[in-house]
Amino acid sequence: METKIRVENLNFYYGNNRALTNINMEIYRNKITAFIGPSGCGKSTFLRTINRMNEFIENTRVEGKVLIDDEDIYSKKVDPVELRRRVGMVFQRPNPFPKTIYENIVYGLKKNGVKNKEVLDEVVDTTLKSVALYEEVKDKIHKSALELSGGQQQRLCIARAIAMQPDVILFDEPTSALDPISTMKIEELLLELKNDYTIIIVTHSMQQAARISDYTAFFLNGELIEIDETNKIFSNPRDKRTEDYITGRFG
């Protein structure tokens, strides 16, 4: 098992409020790691420190290190724009651009200087196939992405992230706005994607974490309570608070 991401003594502040306290963890290559915890526990905030999306909120501050492939992404040498090419992200609500399906997928590539039409066409085909959307939309890839259903839109957003050839993909509650069938499809997709990518998923659903993740991390009040193999967390947690949460005593 190979460590892809290592977090060391991470603290995060909104103004003077500490939102994350002294987080340490390792995330392994080609595994799915789930973050669970009650709302406001800091799991989404933590997720966003991994691609530095928190920087768009004013008056925030990070202490500590996040190492991806042993390189600290908060070092001065790292350009956040470049980092986000390597660490993709899928959001809570499907947010396709009001453009065609094709333009959605090639958006990031084009903006990063990839102009060759053959390459772009190929990327669109392969990514649509890898998110199992190809058959459904192959006749309308030049139609507006807003015409797709919610579940299809979310898979398109995944395709859009994959098109950038990232190593890591962050999912921020990707199924919370979807119906059960669309949710199932996304979950199946994640299980396939882990062969090629390191996946981190924030989820509000413990069942979802149990179904798809290899590792589960439990957060409470901005602290990492414990992280372990998923079946251990759900069958035999070390910490009393984790047990209380997964047995439904709070949260």
Binding site: D79, V81, L109, N112, G113, V114, V123, T126, Q165
Partner: protein, 301 residues
């Protein structure tokens, strides 16, 4: 697939820096505009006050800069402007406020949908058209009622300016009333109030700051209005309160001088800048007052 080549980081960062600088400069254009206005007005105005005393400018009761003996008292122009403001406000404030109350409180959705765009059209008609309307329709009407009225008079121009500023009062006041939360209205209705009582005793007081601001803005607009008064109010600076006489406003004077050939550096050229400075100062103060009213009395619901 993995051979996709991304643009180099340094090139992108360089682009981004250039763009940031360019946009910052564009953002400064508005500041340069303000500086430009103040400098161009004050430079000539200072020149003007080298040859004319400030005391004469503000106290002399005659404005005859182009004739002998020249008098440089700005009061007649201020008085002319004041007359326009009075009569335009008599039209625009009650009618604008009335239509705002109607549109916000009384009008069914369908009626609103038709009337709002019409008011917007009224707001989009160029002032030259209102000037024409004043000269060819309002003035004859006034002269048929008051035969003593002059062909050019303050009343006609004032009415036209008032009509032009109705949509401004109406839409700004309506915005303020629409911002009053429904819970306040429902509370009053639950006590058995009529719509009239809710409108006048609950909604209008609650929206008062926005309404007052709209009045002040319309006054500021009337002071700065130019083409209507240049066409219909006349060009005889006069210290009078009689609205049926021909008068001249500050803006009207600037237009009159600009239409003639006034060489730069001549006293005529300098007078328009002196009058312009006064005009700029008055409207700026009114605009600041209106903004402060909104800020100070904005209620937290």
């Amino acid at each position: 697939m993995n051979k996709i080549l991304f643009e180099s980081k340094s090139k992108m960062q360089k682009n981004e820096r250039v763009i940031n600088k360019t946009l910052t400069i564009l953002g400064m254009v508005s500041i340069f505009t303000t500086i430009g206005i103040i400098l161009s007005l004050t430079e000539e105005t200072i020149q003007f006050f080298r040859s004319v005393s400030i005391i004469e400018f503000f106290t002399s009761r005659k404005w005859t800069p182009m004739f002998e003996p020249a008098n440089y008292g700005v009061l007649p122009l201020v008085m002319g402007t004041f007359l326009i403001v009075i009569f335009s406000s008599i039209i625009s404030i009650p009618i604008g406020l009335g239509s705002a109350i109607y549109l916000s409180e009384y009008a069914p959705k369908k009626v609103r949908k038709i009337l709002k765009p019409v008011l917007e059209i009224l707001a989009g008609i160029p002032s030259i058209v209102y000037g024409y309307f004043a000269l060819t329709s309002i003035t004859p009407l006034i002269r048929s009622i008051f035969p003593s009225a002059s062909v050019f008079n303050a009343l006609s121009a004032g009415i036209a300016v008032g009509i032009m500023t109705i949509p401004m009062v109406s839409s700004l006041s309506e915005d303020a009333m629409m911002a009053v939360p429904d819970s306040l209205r429902l509370g009053a209705y639950a006590l058995g109030s009529t719509k009239f009582e809710v409108s006048t005793k609950i909604v209008v007081p609650a929206a008062f700051s926005g309404i007052a601001a709209s009045f002040i803005l319309s006054i500021s607009r009337a002071i700065g209005e130019t083409m209507i008064v240049a066409m219909a109010a006349g060009s005889t600076p006069k210290l009078t309160l009689n609205p049926l006489e021909s008068i001249q406003t500050m803006t009207g004077y600037i237009v009159q001088i600009s239409l003639g050939d006034v060489p730069a550096g001549s006293i005529g050229y300098k007078t328009i800048f002196a009058v312009g400075t006064l005009l700029f100062a008055i409207t700026l103060i009114l605009n600041i007052i209106s903004r402060n009213i909104v800020k100070k009395y904005r209620r937290a619901y």
